[in-house]
């Protein structure tokens, strides 16, 4: 289907990303918007725009009927789901196809298979993709647990068969602890879930999060585009990603890539997807975590290192095109880092920061890419994910990319809302990050350095600037807070210099 009009069932930077890809491919783009997003960048840049409801997602971006209504009105022949919202929902993909439209993503059956995490684990195991070693059936007694633990190797994690959320879980580091832990976990599970059954699997202590990008076309070919390391997270939300991973050997990369291709092929994967692994650095082993069956937030770093445009390929694959390259043609060159710029305050437990962006200056220049979803004057509301933009820096080596990212972060100026820009600077300057010693516990381990930095002294420069701003009438400080000169008879410097003309002050 050489569709000519595509509806983007999303908002923010990813919707703008898709709109740009459409423009580059000669496809007419249709944006949808809630009442909070009438003036959002993706709406302003799209060729066509349709309102789909009030601000809450449940009444707009999650409303399949409204989205399909907009598709019908606009004559869209295809739908791109972006990430989040309905992107991995089988029911949406099916509704799109039932309406006679092309869903830009894998088949509904693939979404269903990967959406059910137990089912996914079973299928991946069957396909020869490594999963975290463990027993599936409940353990009869401490003795059975001991035998299983010996086989798997310590440390192990005891888990309630019926439960979740940490209840009935125990990390066990040696055989001598196992008996007591088994009893405790079982008791806790019984109390919490009415079922004392427990099972165990290998405990991964501070794994790294490494994921493989895959692309599958409608002609049966699945390829991988190398890995991304996304270990730096807070509450399971990624903050900083990089490609390639600084720790994988070429052999591990090939092995992991092969596993990802097997995983995708096992579910007849079509489109762009990501197979997430936990990587146990000490053992050099990796285990399937889950598969994200849509474009990933951090896809740009793979685009930078491989030179392949993932969103354009999503659209091409949806149009029936075959992948134009083979596995041997794909290589990673250089190094790319992404910082997700969130509107949130890390010093206040990462609460989202809402308000009008009163000033915005985004970085640019060599080796810097900004995928932004906001502009100066835009109001950040609490309705949606607080991501403002993705900042990517790439260069010949990890160190070149890291320093470039710091340069770019220094150029980033946002006023009106709190952002993660300063946190990112601290992360990128941290000795453990410099040494690539990162794992999923990075932020917790270095919380003191990163989240509660020693209060820097305020330099005199800040007072000089504040005084000049007050005198010159810049900002509110202008009149409400007049800093008088100490000689009332002397004219204000601003009057006597004829200043504020561009040029020299004299």
């Amino acid at each position: 289907s050489l569709f000519k009009t595509l509806l983007v069932a999303n908002r923010g930077e990813i919707a703008l990303r898709v709109v740009r890809a459409c423009r580059e491919m000669g496809i007419r783009s249709v944006a949808v918007y809630s009442d909070a997003d009438r003036l959002a960048p993706h709406v302003l840049e799209a060729d066509e725009a349709h309102r789909i409801g009030p601000p809450p997602s449940s009444e707009s971006y999650l409303r399949i009927d409204s989205l399909l209504g907009a598709a019908r009105k606009s004559g869209a022949e295809a739908v791109h789901p972006g990430y989040g919202f309905l992107s991995e929902r089988e029911v949406f993909a099916r509704a799109v196809e039932d309406a006679g439209l092309v869903f830009v993503g894998p088949a509904p059956a693939t979404l269903a298979a990967m959406g059910d995490k137990t089912e996914a684990r079973r299928r991946m195991h069957a396909a020869g993709v490594p999963i975290v070693p463990g027993v599936v059936d409940a353990l009869a007694d401490p003795g059975a647990a001991a035998r299983a633990a010996e086989e798997i190797g310590f440390p192990v994690l005891l888990k309630a068969a019926a439960g979740g959320g940490g209840k009935g879980m125990r990390v066990v580091r040696s055989g001598s602890e196992l008996g007591r832990a088994f009893e405790a976990a079982s008791r806790e599970a019984l109390a919490a879930f009415g079922d004392g059954s427990v099972y165990l699997e290998r405990f991964l202590d501070r794994p790294r999060h490494v994921e493989i990008q895959v692309l599958g076309d409608r002609h049966g070919r699945v390829l991988h585009l190398g890995e991304r390391e996304c270990s730096i997270q807070r509450r399971h939300q990624k903050l900083v990603e990089e490609a390639p991973s600084p720790v994988l050997t070429p052999e591990q990369r090939e092995e992991m890539g092969g596993s990802a291709v097997r995983a995708a092929a096992a579910v007849d994967y079509v489109g762009a997807g990501t197979v997430e692994f936990l990587y146990d650095e000490a053992r050099g082993a990796f285990y399937f975590l889950e598969m994200n069956t849509r474009i990933q937030v951090e896809h740009p770093i793979t685009e930078c290192t491989t030179g392949i445009d993932l969103v354009q390929w999503q659209l091409r694959i949806a149009r029936g095109e075959a992948l134009a390259f083979e596995q041997k043609d794909i290589g990673q060159r250089g190094h790319a880092i992404e910082c997700r710029i969130y509107a949130e305050d890390e010093r206040k437990h990462f609460i989202p920061s809402c308000g009008v962006i009163s000033l915005l200056r985004e970085p640019a220049g060599p080796g810097v890419r900004v995928d932004s979803g906001v502009y100066q004057g835009w109001e950040v509301t609490s309705h949606y994910d607080p991501i403002l933009a993705k900042l990517v820096a790439f260069g010949e080596t990890r160190e070149v990319a890291r320093r470039r990212m710091l340069r770019a972060l220094d150029e980033y100026v946002v006023q009106g809302v709190a952002t993660s820009v300063d946190l990112h600077k601290r992360i990128l300057r941290h000795p453990s990050f410099v040494a690539a010693k990162v794992d999923t516990a990075f932020l917790d381990e270095h919380a003191t350095d990163l989240l509660e930095p020693a209060k820097a002294d305020v330099p005199d420069l800040a007072f000089i600037a504040a005084a000049l701003a007050a005198e010159s009438g810049s900002g509110r400080g202008a009149r409400a807070t007049h800093a008088a000169t100490n000689d009332d008879d002397a004219p204000s410097p601003w009057e006597t210099t004829g200043s504020w003309e561009i040029g020299r002050a004299s």
Binding site: G355, V356, S358, L359, R361, L409, D410, E411, Y412, V413, Q415, G416, D422, K425, K455, D457, V458, D460, L461, A462, F463, I464, A465, A466, A467, L468, A469, A470, E471, S472, G473, S474, G475, R476, G477, A478, R479, A480, T481, H482, A483, A484, T485, N486, D487, D488, A490, P491, P493, T496, T497, S499, W500, E501, I502, G503, R504, A505, S506
Partner: protein, 166 residues
């Protein structure tokens, strides 16, 4: 001479003209500042030979000040040795006046609303800056004399606030 508070740190600051620019003192430390000029959203200046750009807007927690890559928040209420603090725009009589000419881009309250001293009521855009104009007193909004999109002159009474008793 005025006291400026930034990120909780207070300093006595003065500005005076010099032969080729200005002299700024911060707690008595003297700085020669040259080539002061306004640029988009801020001020460029040279101290010693160092080139700086400061960008300033009015934020919720104070005046947001970015100097190059560094950001600070300046307390809105300065202690001025010569005048009572926060004079303009905050009359004790409950009349909220425009502290500068500009365009109204937001009104946060309706007539009849109860407001507290310091609560932002109106957003005024002027010279590319968004300025939140706060209530001068605790009270009730009696009348709103502006609407979004309107251009107002300096001193225009934007909102009238009555005390609970009135």
């Amino acid at each position: 001479m005025a006291t400026i508070t930034i990120d909780g740190v207070s300093r006595a600051v003065s500005v005076a003209r010099s032969k080729d620019g200005f002299v700024v003192t911060v707690d008595g430390r003297r700085y020669d500042v040259r080539e002061v000029a306004r640029v988009a959203e801020g001020i460029a200046f040279i101290v010693g030979n160092e080139s700086h750009v400061a960008r300033v807007t009015s934020g919720r927690e104070g005046i947001e000040l970015s100097i190059g890559a560094h950001s600070y928040v300046q307390a809105r209420d300065l202690v001025d040795a010569d005048r009572p603090a926060g004079a303009a725009g905050r009359h004790g009589d409950g009349r909220l006046e425009a502290p500068m000419p500009g365009s109204i881009i937001g009104i946060h309250v309706s007539e009849g609303d109860r407001v507290r001293s310091g609560q932002p009521l109106v957003v005024l855009e002027s010279m590319k800056m968004h300025n939140e104009i706060a209530s001068p007193i605790d009270g009730v909004v009696r009348k709103i004399n502006c609407r979004v999109g309107e251009q107002v002159a300096f001193g225009h009474v934007l909102v009238e606030i009555g005390t609970e008793a009135s």
